[in-house]
Symmetry: D2
Amino acid sequence: MVNREHPRKLDVAVLGATGAVGQRFIQLLENHPWFRVAEVVGSSRSASRPYGEAVNWVLDGSAPESAANLIVKPLEAALTSPLVFSALPKEAAETREIELAAAGHVVCTNASANRMVVDVPLLLPEANAEHVRLVDIQREKRGWTTGAIIANSNCTAMPVVMALAPLRQFGIKRIFVVSAQAISGAGYPGVASLDILDNIIPYVSGDEDKLETEPLKMLGALDGDSIVWLDAAVSAACNRVPVVDGHLVNVSVELAARPTMVEIIEAWETFRGPEPVPQLPSAPEKPVQYLPQIDRPQSRRDRNAGNGMATSVGRLRECALLGYKFAALSHNTIRGAAGCSILNAELLAVTGYLADFQPATAVYSAQ
Amino acid sequence: MVNREHPRKLDVAVLGATGAVGQRFIQLLENHPWFRVAEVVGSSRSASRPYGEAVNWVLDGSAPESAANLIVKPLEAALTSPLVFSALPKEAAETREIELAAAGHVVCTNASANRMVVDVPLLLPEANAEHVRLVDIQREKRGWTTGAIIANSNCTAMPVVMALAPLRQFGIKRIFVVSAQAISGAGYPGVASLDILDNIIPYVSGDEDKLETEPLKMLGALDGDSIVWLDAAVSAACNRVPVVDGHLVNVSVELAARPTMVEIIEAWETFRGPEPVPQLPSAPEKPVQYLPQIDRPQSRRDRNAGNGMATSVGRLRECALLGYKFAALSHNTIRGAAGCSILNAELLAVTGYLADFQPATAVYSAQ
Amino acid sequence: MVNREHPRKLDVAVLGATGAVGQRFIQLLENHPWFRVAEVVGSSRSASRPYGEAVNWVLDGSAPESAANLIVKPLEAALTSPLVFSALPKEAAETREIELAAAGHVVCTNASANRMVVDVPLLLPEANAEHVRLVDIQREKRGWTTGAIIANSNCTAMPVVMALAPLRQFGIKRIFVVSAQAISGAGYPGVASLDILDNIIPYVSGDEDKLETEPLKMLGALDGDSIVWLDAAVSAACNRVPVVDGHLVNVSVELAARPTMVEIIEAWETFRGPEPVPQLPSAPEKPVQYLPQIDRPQSRRDRNAGNGMATSVGRLRECALLGYKFAALSHNTIRGAAGCSILNAELLAVTGYLADFQPATAVYSAQ
Amino acid sequence: MVNREHPRKLDVAVLGATGAVGQRFIQLLENHPWFRVAEVVGSSRSASRPYGEAVNWVLDGSAPESAANLIVKPLEAALTSPLVFSALPKEAAETREIELAAAGHVVCTNASANRMVVDVPLLLPEANAEHVRLVDIQREKRGWTTGAIIANSNCTAMPVVMALAPLRQFGIKRIFVVSAQAISGAGYPGVASLDILDNIIPYVSGDEDKLETEPLKMLGALDGDSIVWLDAAVSAACNRVPVVDGHLVNVSVELAARPTMVEIIEAWETFRGPEPVPQLPSAPEKPVQYLPQIDRPQSRRDRNAGNGMATSVGRLRECALLGYKFAALSHNTIRGAAGCSILNAELLAVTGYLADFQPATAVYSAQ
């Protein structure tokens, strides 16, 4: 059993705290049962100023009081928090995250810089909690004791992997994905309004490559000390759309076992992920929900399902080319970014990877 | 040689003239070199009122003066115009269009009701001008002399067919299409703003079926007195997006001949359609233009290319599943509806199918 | 002291339950500490069907389970719930609401039909809780015992009145209002997307009249058995804008006492409304919050302040014509409609106007 | 009589040519009957590259071929074109525009830097063509021979001044303006999409000040060698809205002469501006058009009236505070920026202020 409360909260730092995803970390960590934001790290422009002044808060309302009073630290500052969440841009992330891990911090990162490094778990607890064991490999190989680096995936890969994870049992062979991605996926200021109002842009820099690789690692199996990627072919086309939050994907999939539609829907509806994932504080009751209406999921109406942590799937129907097609949607800055990173940290906590902090005795066991 | 001016303009009627596509007909026919709107036909609610009063003009500006003063006729009224453009809803179109054709009118329709009838050409001049000869079959079979019915395609099929027509030479085997369709495609009032602002709807009633069938007829070959459909598999997924005009499609295609990207782009850029199509008044200079920028075509910025009659294609790249993928865009109520119907009528005129009205001596010849 | 929980919940009915505001009632009443939706009333099209099937849910997610299973009753059905919330269209509301009140029901209505009737309180608890006493006049005059009818205001009047109520102490003389109103204010299907995407419509049917009268009644004082309207001149201009929720108003105001900006901001920030209003379950902690940022309030970012029940004010500055100007924002379907009606009912409960149901001993006293 | 064609076109330079307004200059000057873009000037980042490569074209379609091949010159480059259009940012404009005028160039600028300088005409030909004579003062005072600097107004001031100019005859006393401004008014990248999608921002930096001063200078009278400002009080509130192009204003106005609504509408409809303004190539047939529909003007539907050069006015009605209120709309980057600057240059040409270039013998005369 996982305790949802813990007598003492663990100090955490947020890197890139003034950016759009950084703000989402701050927002989601407000009142977190286990973690407490103790340090915020920003650019040189923000450093030494109170967070509440330095941040141009782009989410609803204002920055939470508790974070607003923290003084922003510069990127190179030594940190005291054992756990670090990173919303750094790729370039800044590449070396700094490794340095922090080497210095003993557990770094849960949303940056793409280290995602595809062989010993870095691309962790999505419901789908691949067992990948957390790569941390042991990491520590052994790199000579780290308490430090580690754990990544979450690209925000558009998220609804694809969440929808496909329950279907692995049927043998995934080929995947076709076309996305409709919200503007918040590009950060702030990100997409210029003149580029997206009354417009669709059939291009998102770098995301097609990520969509064609990250899911294969995420849906792969831990074999000894490495991940064996899923053996499937993926083709992705990415579009930016005038939607604030929520990445919607049209997916076609070929399944070796040729299940019925009823079997597929049951696989989604009963999917919970392995123990103890469903008991983690940020885990949604149903990671995947199937919507029976003919015109769902919809970006605005379904992005907040399960506090933004549930993936909504709908419109399962036959595909003349691959067998089945459907639509799936995840909130891109919650489930697809900060929320997933926090869930990853919760899994690390209960599986003993956060030194001196284990809010529950349960140790994850893949069996 | 086709004369772009004609000493006498042909009277035309517009059915469903007060609807969104009907208005586009009225707008595009204003100052047309060959045709003159002489009759407007509307619902019983509009009948007997001046068009300018009856119409809730949803396009830019106001209804053209000349049309504004016409008195709206009821649907069942006998018409005097030899040529009739129909923007009727499907149900109203089904019988009325046939009645008018039987009464001697040439009916160019945007309605879906009769599109898939075997002897009705689903005409797109640049792609299948030879299909116009089905009119001979029609007349013979049905005992019509001057009457005929000619359909244009679904508005989302348009960018697919325009982009694929130049590629037929390479042998089209399989097609994957995911659309991002503008709200004007649903007419007026059509999509409720509460359904589409800050939202994507992964469903457009009926359009996936149309996308999986109409292109095969349109890209088919006239063989004797019928069309042999293109032998290709199509899978389509349709989405409604918050864009005013312009249907964008993400297309993947398998081509038997495995052409290079250079060959494909050249096929698009040099595509003009058969003579005398390029000389028709509404024909764009380039029916298909390839945009080299990495993020084009875009709905708002490219929908008006060639006065809304050109299809823009971009982002040609390899597809891990089918060989190639690209994005294509057509203006849905111009090229995808009223503008195509007018171009169809222009082709009928020069090929002698409009009795007593042939603005040019040139007769279409498929060779 | 008001108990926020009550041993037994009061059955309530929702009229017009399938409409946009009706849905908001259903959503806000889910898990209400005092009230329980026992009856849902809809149009003849919906009647006799389970609510979950009859409703086209336009809010986020889906209709709450508990309401989904209720069978929709026709408008003319006799009701058993002592308390009735009405989201009826004006025409339907006019007679039906009076009939229900005459039959003993307390009717809290969002409809405009009876708002300006002399003995009907146009109730906004923080601003004019004392108006609740008009119910005594109503009952006496009309011979009702347990029945009553209480209205909430037009949704655009709401941010105006909420922002001005704390300023009454300074003597309000003239008011200039220009609105930017969200599409949800027009119900569903309401505004056609073709009318509002990439567009502003400088007209909202009927709202300018309401804005120029309702605030004067709401800000008026109970004098004996009637309300003496505020003696102020109002000019309003209304605009529909492409925003989902949230009505923003630009207000200029002339204040007789010529307070300083500091005094005005203090009046807003300290405003709570009279006892026991701040203790009601749906009352926000701060009914009016002043935002110091130069570019707030903003429709999307501030509409959900205080669970949609707080009004955000900002940009207080001098006005060359009237003295001061500022911007104010309220969530139009929560504070401006269903949420206010529920707060009204809560006030009725604690002040003893709901027969046999008084969740607290405190009786409102205007002294 | 003004010749609309001229045997030789005058070379012009565009400063800030790669920005959003600079692009609009390039677009509007394509095929101009009198002027020919010979030089494009950009930032150091763009300098020495072909314009077509350096520019990130944000308008529809692509940069015109002719301009695309010009090599971008750096800001400090000496120019050969006698006429210079400036779309520079304020800071860059301040000194460079004066230097160019001193060097003999006629500079028509959209920048705000020099607008309120006493001897710089804030020119709007239909409203204040006589202000062009300030150029004589300028030249005399500053010792310039062929050089001059002429400004056009802020883009939001435009619909206000265009709507009020025909009403000067009635004696304008007080003006209340609330704007709804398009995103293109902020240039590119300008407004971040996260700031404006599904949102209204009740703040536009600097524009309220401009709205409260520029119209008074523009509507002022030339008296000897200076402009006597209109003696009226103005209060402005500015809002940014999710609209691509078109600034809409809600205006209330007090008119000393208390004209009837019929008289006001007639004043608008018959307004043409003084000779020879109506004959200038870029002058719209009707500078101000009154729309009788109850819900017009609308940003999207009316911004392109008169090729973007006409101002649309509607909803004239009584105002309880000032007498009358109405809505007005101008295209902000055409009439409100580049288009006005070009019209200004056309007026300079026919009135003899462009040395050696006078496409018509007509000299403007204010009488």
